[in-house]
Symmetry: C2
Subunit: 335 residues, 2 copies
C-alpha cells in the first residue's frame, strides 16, 4: 500500500509524541515540518528526519504534495492552519481542543465540509485501552443510572511541560474538559444539561485546576472529575449491575449475577518514549496516541468515517463552552 505523505505543523513538546507515534503506526512519511520559529522545526527535523522545513505554512501547502496535514501547534493557530488546508484541499488532523472559541470551531468544521476536506480532531482519550474496554462492557450492566468518570491531569508538572496551560483562565474546561466530555459522550450520548464547579490547588497557575461537572445524559447522572491527587477511575451503576475501572486499570463488571475481572493493561512501553514521558502521561495515554493516529489513517485510506470528525467533536466543544458558561454564572446550563 502507498505510504501517505504528511506534514506536521508545530514542533513543540507534543510533536515529540505525535511524530514517533506516526512512525509506530507506519504507512506514512513525514515530508515537511512547519514552525513559526524555524530553529525549533530544524531541531525536530534533525531528530525525526524531515526533508523540508518551513516558517510559512502557505508555502508548505503550495510546494509540497501531501496526503494530510497534522496540526500540533498551540491552539490559537489551529483555525488559520485548518482553513489553509481546506483551501489547498488537504485532509487535516487537528489536536484538541479544536479552538478556544465556539464560532471558530464551527467555521473550521463548515469550511472543511464545504471544501469536501476531511477534518479529524485528535481526541485520543477514548482510544486509551482502559476507557475503550469500559465501552465494550457497558451493555452488561443494563441502563446506566449513574456514572463517575475521574481523571488525573498529572499535577503541577503538567504545567511545566505545557506552560501555556498555566496561562489559561479556564484551564481544565479547555485542556482536560474535551477529553472527559468526549468520554461521557462516547459512553452515554449527548447531554441535556451541565453544571460545573471549580477550585484551585496549584497556586502558580492562572486558572483553577480542580474541576467537577455534573451532566444529565438521558437517564444517566454523570459526574466528571478532573484533579491533581486523583487517579483515573470510572464507576458506572446500572439497573442490572455496575462496573468499576480501578486505578490499576482493572475493570470489574457485575452483570447482576457475577463479577468478571478484566485486566485492560494491554499496552507496552514503546522504545521511543522516554521514562519521563511514560511516567508523566501513562502508558495507556501514549498507546492512545498511536491508536488514534491509526484510526484516522484508516479513515484516510479507506474513506470510512472516523469516530472523532470535527462534526462529532463540535458536540464535545459545545460541552466545553457550556462548562465555561456554567462556571461564569454558577448555574446549570441547559443544552
Amino acid at each position: 500500500m502507498k505510504r501517505l505523505r504528511y506534514a506536521a505543523f508545530g514542533t513543540g513538546y507534543w510533536s515529540t509524541l505525535q511524530i514517533p507515534a506516526w512512525n509506530e503506526v507506519g504507512g506514512v512519511e513525514l515530508v515537511a515540518l512547519y514552525n513559526r520559529t524555524v530553529a525549533k522545526a530544524e531541531k525536530i527535523a534533525e531528530r525525526y528526519g524531515s526533508p523540508k522545513v518551513y516558517s510559512d505554512p502557505e508555502e508548505l501547502f503550495k510546494n509540497e504534495q501531501i496526503d494530510f496535514a497534522d496540526i500540533i501547534t498551540e491552539v490559537p493557530a489551529h483555525e488559520s492552519l485548518v482553513l489553509l488546508a481546506a483551501k489547498y484541499k488537504v485532509p487535516v488532523i487537528c489536536q484538541k481542543p479544536m479552538s478556544f472559541d465556539l464560532e471558530s470551531c464551527k467555521r473550521m468544521t463548515e469550511t472543511c465540509e464545504d471544501a469536501g476536506v476531511p477534518l479529524f480532531i485528535h481526541e485520543n482519550y477514548r482510544w486509551q485501552p482502559p476507557f475503550r474496554t469500559v465501552k465494550k462492557y457497558l451493555g452488561a450492566i443494563g441502563i446506566p443510572y449513574r456514572a463517575h468518570i475521574q481523571l488525573c491531569y498529572g499535577g503541577a508538572e503538567m504545567f511545566t511541560v505545557q506552560p501555556f496551560l498555566a496561562t489559561l483562565k479556564y484551564v481544565h474546561h479547555m485542556d482536560m474538559g474535551p477529553h472527559i466530555f468526549d468520554l461521557a459522550r462516547f459512553y452515554f450520548g449527548e447531554a441535556q444539561s451541565i453544571y460545573v464547579q471549580t477550585s484551585k490547588s496549584v497556586p502558580f497557575i492562572e486558572g483553577e485546576d480542580m474541576f467537577t461537572a455534573m451532566l444529565k445524559i438521558g437517564p444517566t447522572i454523570c459526574i466528571c472529575d478532573i484533579g491533581n491527587n486523583l487517579e483515573n477511575r470510572v464507576f458506572i451503576e446500572g439497573d442490572k449491575g455496575w462496573l468499576l475501572l480501578d486505578k490499576e486499570n482493572v475493570l470489574h463488571v457485575n452483570d447482576g449475577t457475577q463479577t468478571t475481572v478484566i485486566d485492560t493493561k494491554t499496552w507496552h512501553k514503546y522504545d521511543w518514549i522516554s521514562d519521563y514521558d511514560y511516567n508523566l502521561h501513562g502508558g495507556d495515554c501514549i498507546q492512545s496516541i498511536v491508536s488514534c493516529n491509526n484510526h484516522m489513517l484508516e479513515s484516510l485510506s479507506t474513506g470510512k468515517e472516523a469516530e472523532t470528525t470535527s462534526r462529532d467533536n463540535l458536540q464535545t466543544m459545545k460541552l466545553v463552552f457550556a462548562s465555561i458558561e456554567s462556571t461564569k454564572t454558577g448555574q446549570v446550563v441547559v443544552l
Copy 2:
C-alpha cells in the same frame, strides 16, 4: 448514678433497634410506651419490658415521671409529640428527618428553645465508626478541595422493611439526604449552594432512588451520592494529600509524604441484633445507634451541648429542603 427514666413514642420497626440500643448503653429505664395502635405497643412492651402502654401521648406525659422522651414514630407525628414534650418540660430525642416541612422544623426548634427543653435529633451517621474516623484524620490532607461521599441505601429491601419510604416522592432527599448532608456539614461546615439530580432504579416506589447532589462548601466541591449498587465510600482530595474510606471500611490517609492505613471496623455484632438486621443495615450503622444514644444521654446527664441539637440539625434540614427545590427547578439553589 441515677438511671434516667424514658418513654418511647412509636413502636414500629425502628423501635426494635432503638430500644435494645438503649439497653446496650445502660443507665436508662424504659417506663412507658406510646403507640397509636396500642396492640403494637403491647407486643413491644412484652418483648423489651415496659410497665405501661399508652395510646394517648398526652396521658403518658401527664401520668409518667420521665427524664426524656424518645420519639421513634413515623415522621408526620414528630411535631405534635415534640410540642407535647415541650409543654410538659420533658427533654426530647427525635428521629431524623425532623419533619417533612421546614416551617415545622423551625417551630419544633423554637418551641423547645423557648420552653428551655433540650431537643436532640437522632442523627446517627456521623457516629458510624468509619465516618467518624474520616473526620479525625481530615487535618492530615490540608485544605479539602474535593469530596465524594457515597452511601448505599440498602436497595429495594429497604422499602420492604420501611414501606412508608416507598410512598415518598422525594424519598432520598428525606430519608438518606439528612444523613449525607449531615456528614458533609460534619466534615466541611455550612454549604453555600446545592444542585441535585435524581433518577429511578426501583420501579415499585413513588420517588427516585438514585440521588446525586453537588454542594459548594467553602473551598470544597462536595459530591453526595446515594444509590442502590453503591457501597459506602468517602474520598477527599486536599492540597497536601488525600484520604479514601474504602468499601471494606479501611481508611487510607495520604498526608503528602506517606499513606497510613487504618482499619475503622471497631464494632462487634451485638447479641440483640438479628442476622437479618445486621446484614441489612451493617454493623457500623447499628453501632452508630448505640453511640448516638450514648452521646445524647451524656448531654442529658451533664448538660454539655450535644452535636446534633435541633438548632444544629436545622442546617441539615435546610439542605434537605434546598435539595428538593433544586430537583423541582433543575437549578442550583444558593443558600
